[in-house]
């Protein structure tokens, strides 16, 4: 099997995973919000009325996309047509390719060749992710500017300010994570989390960098511009913010980009702090349970378990973000900036210093 084919398969796999999960999240979000708000939610999906029960998620997997993409693609007068068309792609593109550096399984041997279960083997994976996340601003900025609409422009100004502010806290928190792992390679980080500490606890990053976890998770949510950080779209103030003037497929792309960002944040947090694809106590040759000895498992099962562990963890963090979204009200602009600059940035900085001092004290730095 050639490298090209493997690469293509891996890329496709991850792309489909992210896209499907995004669409699926839309359904979870609609049902979940209904649950939280004590109503029924999307319940009208059926195929020509012949299925005796409600096909809930068909709503979002089939009906919603069909509806979205068959709507009129409205382009307002006086807008910049080129940029107006470009913006949805600028929003979607970075969100989709960020996942390329996140490993979703250990390397497997396939037809005599070792295949890493991630799209690209990047030594600077974390840097790549940070770079791509930082590019997410462009969709919002260009959309708002190209629309020739005050609300949209206000939304994109807010969006760029917000994302720049939170990127700093996120970057600094990532620095402390990198300090404790000693690498920028995501796969190495996941490998490092395969150990156990004190004989039973999986050596997940969250136990070593709890502060960084909280900061990255919060900043990640802010980067995805969703409630409570949705002031760029703030529908009660700015109609729909930077995508006020979008409809049809383009608007769907923005929504998809939002959900893809949710998946990316979940993937990032999973990989950095919750062992990535590591199944607790599962090594390449089987389970090493504390107190109970070893259970041998075949390589195929190990790989499948790893894939499952990764998917479940990602799904959990997606769900957590949706839960937060429907629980917490939107920040006000000044509260948002205060939290970013006066709250999270100093804490992240202190965390870096603390981590570095600890490493120095333990004599790990050479």
């Amino acid at each position: 099997m050639s490298l090209w084919a493997i690469g293509a398969v891996k890329s496709l796999l991850v792309l489909v995973f992210v896209l499907q999960l995004s669409a699926f999240l839309l359904w979870i979000e609609r049902k979940g919000s209904a649950l939280i708000q004590n109503r029924i939610g999307a319940n009208r999906a059926n195929i020509f009325g012949v299925v005796p029960f409600n096909l809930g998620f068909l709503n979002t997997l089939v009906a919603d996309p069909i509806k979205m993409f068959t709507k009129e693609d409205f382009i307002p007068a006086g807008c910049d047509r080129f940029l107006h068309a470009l913006a949805p792609f600028m929003a979607l593109f970075p969100a989709l390719i960020t996942f390329a550096a996140i490993p979703f399984g250990d390397s497997i041997v396939l037809g005599g060749e070792t295949v890493e279960l991630r799209v690209v083997d990047l030594d600077v994976g974390l840097l790549y992710i940070l770079a791509m996340v930082s590019m997410g601003v462009y969709g919002a900025v260009i959309a708002g500017w190209a629309s020739n609409n005050r609300w949209a422009l206000l939304g994109s100004i807010r969006g760029s300010a917000q994302m720049i502010s939170y990127e700093l806290a996120m970057g600094l928190a990532l620095v402390s994570v990198v300090l404790s792992y000693g690498t920028l390679d995501m796969q190495d980080m996941v490998h490092a989390q395969g150990r156990t500490v004190l004989g039973f606890l999986p050596a997940w990053g969250v136990f070593f960098q709890p502060v960084a976890f909280i900061i990255i998770f919060v900043a990640g949510m802010a980067e995805s511009k969703r409630v409570p950080f949705d002031i760029p779209e703030a529908e009660s103030e700015l109609i729909a913010g930077y995508f006020t003037e979008y409809s049809g497929g383009k608007q769907a792309s923005f929504m998809l980009a939002d959900f893809a960002e949710v998946v990316v944040v979940a993937g990032l947090v999973t990989t950095l702090f919750f062992g990535g694809w590591q199944f607790p106590w599962l090594a390449a040759d089987g389970f090493h349970l504390p107190l109970m000895g070893t259970i041998e498992v075949s390589a195929l099962v190990v790989t499948l378990l790893q894939l499952m562990a990764f998917s479940l963890k990602v799904l959990f963090f997606c769900w957590l973000q949706i839960l937060v979204r429907w629980t917490v009200p939107r920040f006000r602009y000044d509260q948002l900036m205060d939290l970013g600059w006066k709250g999270m940035l100093p804490i992240a900085l202190a965390n870096v210093v603390f981590t570095a001092a600890l490493i120095l004290a333990r004599g790990e730095g050479s």
């Binding site: 910049d80 940029l83 990047l122 030594d123 600077v124 840097l127 790549y128 940070l130 770079a131 791509m132 996340v133 930082s134 590019m135 601003v137 462009y138 900025v141 260009i142 708002g144 500017w145 422009l153 994109s156 100004i157 760029s160 300010a161 994302m163 720049i164 990127e167 920028l184 390679d185 006000r332 000044d334």
Partner: protein, 210 residues
């Protein structure tokens, strides 16, 4: 002419992208298009870094320039009044002489560069990742420029704040500090700080009492 290969093609593609973007920055009339062309150029440069096996530098290039500097530029463009529609009053600012001079300079430099023999280091094994090397260089050999750069940034930050502060001259010629010049409506004041609004209302009460 070099032998055609994929890497040569990739190099020319990246270099072309860089130049195309740079040209776009200079020649487009619309400032937002200029900024976006600059992004293309930055990406081309990042591609060239990858081509040189400097993946860390490429990542930082995208992170800092595309994700940071350019976003701030766009931010500033949008905050500035009608900067996109500004009319340049003097359209004939000596384009022909400028073209002649720059073209001449280009030809001279290109001519000189063609004959030049640049210093080459003996090709060695390219290490797997440049991150460790860069980290070590920055904190050992180049620690002084590294630290000086941080002082430069601090000074520039202070300078930017100084230059962008708002100051209005009162009729008697004394500058008025910023916080007194922003006219907040009562509603805004309540929104932004209820306590300050109360204090303000109390002060107004006193003035009217007098």
């Amino acid at each position: 002419m070099e032998e055609f290969s994929l890497s040569v093609a990739a190099f020319y593609f990246m270099a072309g992208l860089t130049l195309l973007g740079a040209g776009g920055v200079v020649f487009t009339e619309n400032i937002v298009y200029s900024a976006l062309s600059l992004m293309v150029s930055f990406f081309g440069v990042a591609g060239l870094y990858i081509f040189l096996n400097a993946d860390f530098v490429a990542g930082v290039q995208v992170l800092v320039y595309v994700g940071g500097v350019l976003v701030l530029t766009l931010f500033a463009v949008m905050l500035t009044h009608q900067i996109a529609e500004i009319e340049v009053s003097n359209k004939s600012v000596g384009r022909v002489p400028a073209l002649l001079i720059c073209g001449g300079l280009f030809l001279v430099i290109a001519k000189a560069l063609r004959g030049a023999e640049f210093f080459t280091t003996p090709g060695g094994q390219v290490s797997e990742s440049s991150t460790y090397g860069i980290g070590n260089l920055l904190l050992r050999e180049y620690i002084l420029p590294f630290e000086l750069a941080s002082v430069v940034l601090l000074a520039v930050l202070v300078g930017a704040v100084v230059l962008s502060r708002k100051e209005v001259i009162a009729p008697d010629g004394t500058p008025v500090p910023e916080r007194e010049t922003i006219p907040l409506t009562e509603g805004q004041r309540v929104m932004s700080s209820p306590r300050a609004a109360l204090a303000g209302a109390a002060a107004k009460q006193k003035v009217s009492d007098v």
